[in-house]
């Protein structure tokens, strides 16, 4: 029987759909024109400008510091929250579930303003730390939901079996439970990282002097600056992301 061409065509279309805009962005980043739509020749002009832009690089480092630290903390807190929600079905836990669920449905602007009012009320100086706290607040919910999904079809008999065979609580958690949950935790962590790195609304409100992040900077540049710089920056970010993904795949393949 002749194999259907449909899957191939669909895959190709999907890839085009996903990657064509990115490709356009990468190509325009080498366009010497300031207004992306007319082609004025290849140039590294915007990359040179980017290296000289102290504020953009500062915003980039702010964004990365927050994304990495907020992800790390929300992964730990989110996973433990998911675990508690799954194991204990008391009325208190039902309330806990609502609390975890709410940030997913509350409009961002409301969350941003209420966090700002809160920080102002307790006289906390706005800055990287308040952005970090705000990001942890909404990232926890996403991590918890993803891990909870993973726990739903997790067979706890395996953990009990390990304990029957003499594994301590610590050993059964560290060597049985966590490795099995790892894909869920990793997915939650990646989701948190992506959300943190491109959050604008909440970050705008809780950012303080000196803590402008990349999204805030980019929004202002779109209205009032030079968009090609952003294309160059995005291309570099893409390159870094691909390198990280490639490296992590490479490493995991070696260890297994």
């Amino acid at each position: 029987m002749k194999q259907s061409r449909l899957p191939l065509v669909t895959t190709l279309l999907l890839l085009v759909f996903f990657y064509l805009p990115i490709l356009v962005l990468v190509i325009t980043s080498f366009n010497s024109s300031r207004f992306g739509t007319t082609w004025e020749g290849w140039s590294l002009h915007w990359y040179r400008r980017l290296i000289q832009e102290r504020e953009v690089l500062h915003a980039l480092s702010n964004t990365l510091i927050i994304a990495v630290s907020a992800t790390a903390v929300s992964v730990v807190l989110g996973t433990t929250a998911a675990f508690a929600l799954h194991r204990y079905k008391t009325r208190l836990q039902r309330f806990h579930y609502t609390l975890i669920y709410t940030p997913l449905v509350v409009p961002e602007i409301l969350m941003g303003i209420s966090l700002l009012l809160f920080f102002v009320a307790i006289r906390m100086d706005l800055g990287l730390f308040t952005i970090f706290l705000a990001h942890v607040t909404f990232c926890i919910s996403y991590v918890a939901m993803v891990v909870l999904g993973r726990l739903q079809d997790f067979d706890f008999a395996i953990v009990e079996a390990a304990q029957d065979l003499g594994a301590s609580w610590w050993a059964s958690t560290w060597r049985v439970l966590l490795p099995l949950l790892a894909p869920g935790i990793l997915a939650g962590g990646l989701l948190a990282f992506t959300l943190s790195i491109d959050d604008f609304v909440i970050t705008f409100f809780v950012a303080g002097p000196g803590s402008t992040t990349l999204p805030i900077r980019i929004y202002s540049m779109i209205k009032h600056g030079s968009p090609p710089l952003i294309n160059a920056l995005s291309t570099l970010l893409l390159l870094i992301t691909f390198l990280v993904v490639w490296a992590s795949q490479h490493l995991t393949r070696e260890s297994s």
Binding site: R54, E55, I65, V68, L117, F205, P209, S211, R217, K223
Partner: protein, 346 residues
């Protein structure tokens, strides 16, 4: 994740977060402004001259910035809101009265602009950058261009024209075309302006406040209603673009320096305002930003291209007919109402 990797990351993070701490020994001036609005070399020079650090944070709309400062977000010393927003901030007690003894360079500020400014005595604000709203077009594709709002009625340009997606600017253009003030609160005048905008709307591609620059550079639009600062930036790319201000008058917008009430570096903030109004520095900055710093002494030092541009330096008779958009308080509703009618009309 392997533990050594994690701890290495934590070390890097702690070094990165410790970096700003090293800077604390010098005073830090925090400026809250639009992106690319101050020539970077000039802030570096200020840092060297005054042994301080200048940290710039950016916002993307007056309203968002106001919401944040009003809610109590502190730490910013200098902010550059548009004039109408500076007025609101002053009314709300969010900004300080300026100490003119620390600002000797205020004598360079263009008195012609101050005549129409919202804060002509510069009690709480110093004008930083001006922009005029006008019409930009492609010389090769719009023959017989005349500097008048009536251009928006040209049927041969149908579907290739944009107007700003800003109720005050666009209704203001219609009011000016009828010879009224663009700050009017007279219902009859506003209704007449509404009918004009609805007539124009039939000729438009869309209301557009950001992409019109790109659209004009790529020849998608032939005639656009836009800000002189934006258009000057596109003109550097496409010499076919020309800009002019309608003879009926237009709106002049200005972003002002204000010092926040809770500023910790009041002295440094004043020094920075004064520094930016040093004539040679103001000219250098104008050439870089492409908006116009209304510093009269600096005008002769501005590049020929900007000085010869009739859309930047208005003819006195057009300037006399132009106005600054003012906040109308409770009467803003009148504009919102007819803007809704315009948006709903077809």
């Amino acid at each position: 994740m392997n533990i050594p990797g994690l701890s290495r990351l934590l070390i890097v993070l702690s070094i990165l977060t410790a970096l700003p701490a090293c800077q604390q020994s010098k005073p830090v001036l925090h400026i809250y402004t639009w992106a690319d609005y101050i020539k970077p070399e000039l802030t570096h020079r200020f840092e060297a001259d005054h042994q301080c650090w200048v940290i710039i944070d950016t916002f993307d709309s007056n309203e968002a910035m106001y919401a944040k400062i009003k809610a109590g977000a502190g730490g910013y010393d200098l902010v550059t809101p548009s004039s109408y927003m500076a007025k609101i901030m002053d009314d709300q007690g969010l900004v300080q009265q300026l100490d003119h003894r620390l600002l000797p360079n205020l004598k360079h500020i263009d008195p012609d602009y101050l005549k129409i400014a919202i804060d002509p005595e510069m009690h709480y604000s110093v004008p930083y950058m001006l922009t005029n709203t006008g019409l930009a077009y492609l010389k090769s594709r719009v023959p017989g261009f005349e500097p008048t709002w009536k251009m928006l009625d040209r049927k041969e340009l149908k579907g290739r024209v944009t107007m700003l997606n800003d109720m005050r600017e666009t209704i203001g253009a219609a009011l000016k075309s009828l010879g009224y003030s663009l700050n009017t609160i007279n219902d009859g005048e506003l209704d007449a302006a509404r009918d004009v905008v609805i007539r124009w709307k039939r000729n438009l591609a869309k209301f557009e406040s950001e992409q019109y620059k790109t659209g004009l550079a790529s020849r998608e639009f032939l005639l656009v209603h836009g800000y002189s600062g934006d258009i000057l930036q596109v003109q550097r790319e496409n010499s076919d673009i020309s800009f002019d201000v309608p003879v009926e008058g237009t709106s002049i917008a200005c972003d002002d320096f204000v010092v926040t009430r809770n500023s910790k570096e009041v002295m440094l903030a004043h020094q920075f305002i004064n520094f930016m109004q040093e004539p040679d520095i103001a000219a250098d900055n104008t050439n870089f930003v492409a908006y116009l710093c209304p510093n009269k002494t600096s005008y002769p030092q501005i590049s020929e291209k900007i000085r010869q541009n009739p859309g930047v330096f208005l003819k006195p008779e057009i300037r006399a007919k132009s106005e600054v958009i003012q906040d109308l308080g409770a009467n803003n509703v009148k504009y919102t109402r007819i803007w809704d009618q315009i948006k709903a009309a077809n």
